[in-house]
Amino acid sequence: MRAYALRRVILAAPTLLGVTIILFALVRMLPGDAVQQILGEYPGYASDEDALRKELGLDKPIPQQYLSWVGHVVRLDLGESLQTKRPIVDELRMRAPVTFELGILAIFLGLCISIPIGVLSALKQDSLADYAARTLSVGMLAIPGFWLATLVITLPSIWWQWTPSPTYTRFTEDPVANLGHMFLPALILATALSGTLMRVTRTEMINVMRQDYIRTARAKGLSNYVVLIRHSLRNAFIPVITVIGLQVPVIIGGSVILENIFTIPGTGRYLLEAISKRDYPVIQGINLLLALVVIFTNIAVDLSYSIIDPRIRYSR
């Protein structure tokens, strides 16, 4: 298990290298007048163009620039924000947990919605309820999160003069207020996710319920409940976890939009602030962090198979 985990991490190294090259190139792809634009946006930053180039390390040869950037990244130094001159890592340390909380909450809510409906849909295959659930799942996938969020903010305020609180409270200060603020955006993020999860749960449950060992479990007189939970759901869960892993980038993308609408000070909001201010080091840093999250989620998903499915644990 440990050897496998190690091998999996080593295999991620080339991907990680590629990610840094792309992000490095992205900022160098800026049109030629970008330095002037930065100077226009931040007049106090440097005395003239040459000084700014030097400040940003743009005066050295490209390979040297790359190596020095990676060198800093490895030492957890993502540089400074052009706008605030604060270290980007410090800012991310404040904001990443917020986005993480939102994402975890969304996955939790997504599972709460999709597993019961997916299982029901599979048990009552081709019934009216099944059709309703399947149509619902396609519908949930089609609704754009930003529209749902706009409606959730607009309509209740028209009907009941109720608006979600605009001020964000940190979880450490007041957990209840924090969860209250996070609930709606998490639920909206969970909508599209549960659309996907419902379909997977249904398909997998239908497959699993046809297996011989389910018949065996029933034949030896186990209760429906035990067959359903211990024998079926556990086996159907592996593909569900895979799909959750695959949906992590989608959740991150959605959180960019929802953090902005619900004024949540997470990484997504930071990204949009940075983009509107042309704060390129910040854009680079956030992309790197989020790509890392995706890469390590994939590893975690692979490792989790071996926890859920003993066959995988022993064969490796």
Binding site: T15, V138, N260, I295
Partner: protein, 300 residues
């Protein structure tokens, strides 16, 4: 004379290809009612986009200052916005952006994904490893995040947007094409083609490609919905289609938010159309998946 005779007496296939397409399409509508509904939604959407100037009662940028923020009425079906523009007309014209970006991006995606996927599957070995590692790298970026970042660097605009969405969609797509092409590659007729000395290009694009087409059609349909969703998200954030041109996502963004509590129709209709369009493509994709490629059934 002789030709005429030959024509009259010659063997006519039971259903000429044109009729077969018609018959199969109508059969599809009967067999897959949900897919049929999707097809109809998309047909309406396409007609809206093509005939926008004929359908829209007003030019999309025409201000009716005295009629600001009016609710839906017979004159303004979907109401008016803060500068008195007819929302129905803007929604109709907005279909153009969705259709152009959607089909443009997916054409790019189909082309790149087919080439990458088939080449990767056919050559295998080092070529495959190299291409797949590149795909891995791109799949590590959350698409919306990297797209906004790319748009911030290359600048807004319809063609940049289409290109960026297309490139991004092609990455995941190429994986599916590769998997499908690998199955086809194992067939005897590929071995036969190799034996008679067909060139690599010929095998890849005359023998493998046609057999991968069903998969490509299914995924491309679903991606059309995805492309429209991504375009509208970017336009909503202000990094998509630049203003005077109306896009469904853009109509929901920024300055509008202040007015939505007074004029909810400003928010309701454009969003409903995004949902409808994506729903239509997803439904059609599901139907096509069952009809064309049973192997993909249940996968997503």
């Amino acid at each position: 004379m002789l030709e005429e005779q030959a024509g009259t007496f010659s063997y006519v296939p039971p259903a000429s290809s044109r009729f077969r397409v018609l018959k199969r399409s109508s059969q599809f509508l009967v067999d897959k009612p949900l897919g049929g509904i999707g097809a109809i939604i998309i047909a309406v959407l396409l007609l809206m986009a093509i005939f926008a100037p004929l359908i829209a009662p007003f030019p999309y940028a025409e201000n009716h200052i005295s009629d600001r923020l009016q609710g839906p009425s017979l004159r303004y079906f979907f109401g008016t916005d803060a500068s008195g523009r007819d929302i129905f007309s803007r929604v109709v014209y907005g279909a153009r952006v969705s259709v152009v970006v959607g089909f443009g991006a997916v054409s790019i995606s189909v082309f790149i994904a087919s080439v990458l996927g088939i080449v990767s599957a056919y050559y295998g070995g080092l070529v495959d490893t190299l291409i797949q590692r590149l795909v891995d790298i791109w799949l590590s970026f959350p698409s919306l995040v990297i797209l906004i970042s790319i748009m911030a660097v290359i600048g807004m605009g319809l063609s940049n947007l289409t290109l960026a969405i297309g490139l991004l969609l092609s990455v995941g797509f190429s994986r599916v094409v590769r998997a499908s092409a690998l199955t086809v590659k194992g067939n005897l007729f590929i071995e036969a083609a190799t034996t008679i000395g067909a060139s690599d290009m010929r095998i890849m694009f005359r023998h493998i490609l046609p057999n991968v087409v069903p998969t490509i059609i299914v995924i491309a349909t679903v991606q059309l919905g995805a492309a429209i969703l991504i375009e509208s998200s970017l336009s909503f954030l202000g990094y998509g289609v630049p203003p005077p041109r109306p896009s469904w996502g853009g109509m929901l963004s920024g300055s509008g938010l202040v007015y939505f509590t007074k004029a909810p129709w400003m928010a309701v209709f454009p969003g409903a159309f995004i949902t409808l369009a994506v729903f239509g493509f997803n439904m059609l994709g599901d139907g096509l998946r069952d009809a064309l490629d049973p192997r993909l059934r249940g996968s997503r």
